[in-house]
């Protein structure tokens, strides 16, 4: 890597599981891949999850080795805390201008020892990783399993006391660091920019984010994770260990009032998964799932659902109309119970989890000229046969950037995007020296059919 230029085969944008897998699939075939991730660590949403359906593997056990493999792969220059600002095309492919945001800590020197973090005097809500439920210092390593293990400083809250400078063994802190610009030349691009979840204050019927004990499912993932904010499941208003927990399905999907007509595909499964994990963590708790349709369609998923039923998790068919709270901040759910002659009931729980949907993350139109389709996910013109090919030659999309999907499906599309990019490069390599072939000559070179 020269100082401000990088020549690679493929530029992968986004370091969630989709981007990591696509990078590995290409790098294992010998291609050079630059992986650009906006956040200080790769891992995407997946690294924040607790355990993953349908195998109930601990999520760190699946994700961290992939993160390490990416970080150590000889063919993958990894650029975290970086953004693609613009892209132009030339005869070889694309030239991307990449901004490397300053961490105020030298990436090459920092060992992630956290000495700085221990001496820094100010605690800030950890909004990036823990929804503000816990804290990090003004200087901090993003999380235990972050890759790279490099600290960064939130200068907006820094008092420049200099304690970290004194504490840092390798002298890695540098308050004068400036944004850097890097030019990346690549033959192909894979977009893996992922998704966002429905903002949990989106729905005013569900308290518009103002009820202390109504949380979203990503937050519950953190409560269930061994590295989570409380190290156990407590409700956020007062730290009570909840005895009664309810899930409200489709809170942000299949909801035309929010302009979201589609199904987010993962919420049924993650709610069931969380319910199972909760009944392990809190054996005495009652767990209810309010749903309209249970969509456990993947391999092994229906069996997962049936197991949950036998574990005593209560599945109630009904649309939740409203959530309010009582004087003890217990959420009260108003629901039409379809299996009880559509009787309307009010039920009180200790904690309510909104099974929020998947929304498109980043819109690549302005930077990459790749248009999005309905609902804001990347447009895939020939979606049946070429599910990762965008409208732009040489640019492919994988994972949830191209629509809601779970990790298994994401990994499949990552492999498919890698195959497309590789084929495109192979094709262009062959064509480069030769004059474009005429159609009849092509016909001579057709495949052999032995019928």
């Amino acid at each position: 890597m020269s100082d401000n230029r990088l020549d690679v085969d493929t530029l992968v944008v986004g370091g969630g599981i989709a981007g990591m897998q696509a990078s590995l699939d290409l790098a294992d075939q010998g291609y050079q891949v630059a992986l650009v991730e906006r956040d200080p660590s790769i891992g995407g949403k997946m690294i924040g999850l607790s355990k993953v359906f349908p195998t109930l593997d601990c999520c760190s056990c699946i994700t961290t080795p992939k993160m390490a493999a990416v970080a150590h792969h000889d063919n993958i220059p990894l650029l975290t805390y970086s953004e693609v600002e613009s892209v132009a095309s030339n005869k070889n492919g694309f030239v991307a201008q990449v901004l490397r945001k300053p961490r105020y800590v030298q990436e090459e020197d920092c060992t992630g020892c956290r000495s700085c973090e221990l001496v820094c005097p100010i605690d800030l809500p950890d909004d990036e990783n823990e929804f503000g439920r816990t804290s990090h210092r003004v200087i901090y390593v993003p999380f235990t399993t972050a890759v790279p293990q490099t600290a960064l400083i939130d200068l907006d809250h820094c008092i420049y006391c200099g304690k970290c400078i004194k504490a840092c063994p390798p002298d890695a802190i540098d308050f004068t660091q400036q944004p850097e610009h890097l030019e990346i030349e690549a033959k192909t691009i894979v977009l893996a920019t992922g998704y966002e979840v429905t903002p949990y204050d989106a729905k005013k019927e569900y308290g518009a984010g103002k009820l202390g004990n109504v949380i979203d499912a990503l937050m519950m993932e953190r409560l269930l994770a061994p590295t989570g904010p409380y190290g156990r499941v407590l409700r956020p208003s007062d730290g009570k260990q909840p005895d009664s927990i309810a899930y409200v399905q489709c809170a942000g999907s299949r909801d035309l009032t929010l302009g979201v007509s589609y199904c987010s595909r993962v919420c049924c499964m993650y709610a069931i998964k969380q319910a199972m994990l909760l009944s392990g963590a809190l054996p005495m708790a009652d767990i209810t799932i309010y749903y309209m349709d249970i969509r456990t369609f993947g391999k092994g998923y229906e069996q997962f659902y049936q197991n949950a039923k036998t574990m005593g998790i209560e599945f109630v068919k009904g649309k939740v109309a409203r959530i309010t709270e009582d004087e003890n901040q217990n959420p009260v759910v108003r629901v039409e119970l379809i299996d009880e002659n559509s009787r309307v009931a009010e039920r009180t729980h200790d904690l309510v989890v909104l099974s929020v949907g998947m929304l498109p993350g980043w819109n690549p139109q302005a930077t990459f000229g790749v248009p999005v389709a309905e609902a804001g996910f990347i447009q895939i013109p020939d979606c049946n046969v070429s599910p990762t090919v965008t409208t732009q030659p040489g640019i492919y999309a994988t994972g949830t950037a191209a629509g809601p999907m779970d990790i298994v499906d994401t990994i499949m599309t990552a492999g498919a995007a890698a195959a497309e990019a590789a084929a495109y490069m192979q094709n262009h390599k062959e064509q480069e020296p030769a004059v474009p072939e005429a159609a009849p000559a092509m016909r001579d070179k057709r495949s052999t059919v032995h019928a």
């Binding site: 996910f377 298994v408 499949m412």
Partner: protein, 697 residues
């Protein structure tokens, strides 16, 4: 503390010294106990375990950490190798199937031979099974890991078996998944051979006309794909062909293929006359038995390869068609021919078949008015039995009921099991959207038909799928919901009925009312089952899961690989998938194969038999007991002027099973990396009075 006794290895100019040069060097063992989040740590006291192991001989570092597999966890190991001179590594963590590779890579990054690392499964073999008794689990962890330490003391550097790999892949199945995989691999420069069991390409997709979520014409979709495949010089296609035998390993599989003759030459012209002359009539599987075809036939007009074939199973050799055969256009005496190819890897894309309801399930087989969704798809197809008109037995349909989840989401004890004793307890994934798509089409073309959709859950999950559901609701399709315990009763006809009725449906959308629906057609949205692959399972030693679909190693870490390296899966052979998902899976499979073969060589585990020529007496016992072909044989050597026989191993063919080790009367054979001495040391350690246990448990 063992932690501090380690003296840093002098590093020359910051370079890591390869430390595996001498097998005789003093072992300096690093032990690492992983908490695996709370998976191990909640049961096993990992700190105590690490502390206890630190007391064992040769252990220079012993640590525990929350996630050893994470980057900081791996860094503990690599730092200790570089700074503390650790030259043997023992990790106690999850299953080795998950992370053996991860740690091997970490160890080699630090300059150590990757086989100087040993993995102990503390999760599957300890914390998960003993979560009720943490103290004993901790003792077990210490014992298991001390056995690992005992093995580590004896470990020697090993080299993987490196082999040339054929840059040639086999694809089994010519549906969308197989076609797509072939195309992806060929475009990357691999040679591809595709075998398709039937005489035509396209698989099931050819049978649907209108496909969700794009409302494309399936034939156009297929034509586009097949055209691209045909244009690829790297692809060779054999139709009417099947794999009959296979041997070898990744990089070098020898595959035996049997191909049925078509019986009709490409340029045969009198097609229609020959078909008309054929007296044999059998149910046409392409129309799911709604129509019949002759023994000389073609499944549909624009099929690829074009032209007609003879169905040898039903052909009576009456020779009526030969009348039109001028100069051998039809050859009834052609025999199947067999040939062998050599490939480096293969993609199994054998697809699915629709569930066939047993006689009587919801009236199927009892009432002709009960049909399946694939049959309805054929009725709606313009080249189907009715030319696309919604008719049954010559009568236009007025009232139609569609029932979801027939043959899917079955419950043990309620539904009739398949021959293997298991019910289909899975969701078939494609039928909900396919049903609603068909319902909407009917609404569009036959607006007067009343449609009742009887469902349990509507699973229109994919991008664009929910629109079919919304449209169906807007289209005044009547939805009725049943619950699993109360499936609709089936179809019955009462005296005087003009039409049969769908009996008792307890509708949970309208106060649990029980309804009988008078309808003239009942469509069962049958689920999907894997194509029969029993023969391939045996030939390739791959495994089906509980649901009979072919099984991947791990749905997230290795989602398209089977347990046999070099054999990968694509499409509906692995589980229910729609076209888009099948094509994505095919791309992932192609990427995997590329990764394996693009270097032109593959590496196999070094755990193969090794003969000690000093001890070998040439008894040949090993050759007799070896279950593998060509793995071990006797060769003649001359030792001090005398001709003697000695056993010789062919590493590529040895699978390291160790049968020969137990048979050898002279203890002359060992499996590399797993020598008898290793086992003995480990067993001794497991059963020893472990000083390490003192004061711990």
């Amino acid at each position: 503390m063992p932690d501090t006794t380690g003296e840093p290895v002098p590093a020359e100019k910051g370079q890591v010294q390869p430390q595996s040069a001498s097998p005789d060097e003093e072992p300096r063992i690093g032990v690492y106990v992983c908490h695996c989040g709370d998976n191990i740590g909640d049961v096993v006291d990992c700190e105590q375990t690490a502390e206890a192991l630190g007391k064992l001989g040769n252990v220079v570092v012993s640590r525990s950490y929350i996630f050893m597999c994470s980057d900081p966890g791996q860094k503990l190991i690599t730092d200790d190798i570089k700074e503390k001179g650790v030259n043997r590594v023992v990790v106690g963590a999850c299953s080795m199937f998950l992370h053996e590779q991860t740690f091997r890579q970490a160890v080699s990054r630090a300059g150590l031979n990757p086989y100087l690392y040993y993995h102990i499964g503390l999760r599957e073999q300890d914390s998960w099974v003993h979560h009720e008794c943490p103290e004993e689990a901790t003792e077990k962890a210490i014992r298991l890991m001390s056995a690992g330490v005992a093995k580590a003391r004896l470990m020697r550097p090993l080299e993987p078996v490196r082999l040339e790999a054929a840059k040639h892949a086999l694809v089994i199945g010519g549906g969308v998944a197989g076609l797509r995989a072939a195309l992806d691999m060929a475009r990357r420069g691999l040679k591809v051979t595709l075998v398709e069991k039937t005489h035509f390409l396209g698989g099931r997709t050819a049978q649907w006309e209108h496909v969700f979520p794009t409302d494309e014409d399936a034939r156009t979709l297929l034509r586009g794909l097949i055209e691209k495949v045909l244009a690829e010089p790297n692809i060779t296609i054999h139709t009417g062909a099947e794999v009959v035998a296979a041997k070898g390993y990744v990089g070098d599989f020898q595959i035996r293929i049997r191909q049925q003759p078509r019986g009709v030459s490409d340029d045969f012209e009198a097609v229609e006359q020959a078909i008309a002359a054929c007296p044999v009539e059998v149910p046409d599987e392409f129309d799911y038995g709604l129509t019949t075809r002759k023994a000389i036939y073609r499944p549909y007009e624009e099929c690829t390869p074009a032209g007609v074939v003879i169905d040898w199973e039903h052909c009576t050799r009456c020779e009526k068609c030969l009348e039109f055969s001028n100069n051998g256009g039809i050859r009834l005496d052609d025999a199947p021919h067999e040939f062998e190819i050599n490939v480096g890897a293969m993609v199994v894309a054998t697809g699915f078949r629709p569930y066939e309801p047993p006689q009587g399930e919801l009236g199927y087989g009892e009432f002709p008015e009960v049909i399946t969704l694939p049959q309805l798809e054929r009725i709606l197809a313009s080249d189907g039995p009715t030319g696309g008109r919604l008719e049954w037995n010559g009568h236009p349909i007025r009232n139609l009921a569609m029932i979801h989840c027939v043959g899917s989401r079955q419950i043990e004890g309620v539904h009739k099991p398949q021959p293997d004793g298991n019910v289909n307890d899975y969701c078939s994934r494609v039928c909900c959207t396919a049903t609603l798509s068909a319902a909407n089409q009917i609404r569009e073309y036959f607006p007067d038909v009343n449609i009742f959709d009887v469902y349990e859950d509507i699973r229109t999950y994919g991008r664009g799928h929910e629109d079919y559901y919304l449209q169906a609701s807007e289209n005044r399709i009547t939805f009725l919901r049943y619950v699993a315990e109360e499936t609709p009763e089936g179809v019955k006809a009462q005296k005087g009925d003009q039409q049969p009725r769908l009996g008792r449906v307890k509708d949970h959308l309208t106060w649990g009312e029980e309804i009988e629906l008078p309808v003239d057609l009942v469509v069962l949205a049958v689920g999907v089952m894997p194509s029969p692959v029993d023969d391939l399972v045996v030939v390739f030693k791959i495994s089906p899961g509980h649901d009979r679909f072919l099984l991947e190693v791990h749905p997230k870490l290795r989602p398209v690989e089977t347990a046999v390296t070099g054999i990968v899966l694509a499409g509906a052979a692995q589980g229910p998938m729609n076209i888009q998902e099948s094509c994505a899976a095919a791309g992932a499979a192609a990427s995997k194969v590329e990764g394996l073969l693009s270097q032109g060589r593959v590496e196999l585990e070094p755990y193969v038999a090794q003969v000690d020529p000093e001890r070998c007496q040439g008894t040949g016992e090993c050759v007799r007991v070896c279950p593998q072909e060509d793995a071990i044989h006797l060769e003649t050597f001359s030792v001090s002027g005398r001709e003697v026989q000695r056993a010789v191993v062919t590493p590529a063919n040895c699978n390291g099973c160790g049968v020969c080790v137990s048979a050898c009367p002279n203890r002359a054979i060992d499996v590399q990396g797993w020598r008898l001495d290793d086992y003995e040391a480990m067993v001794d350690a497991l059963t020893a009075e472990i000083p390490a246990l003192e004061g711990v448990v």
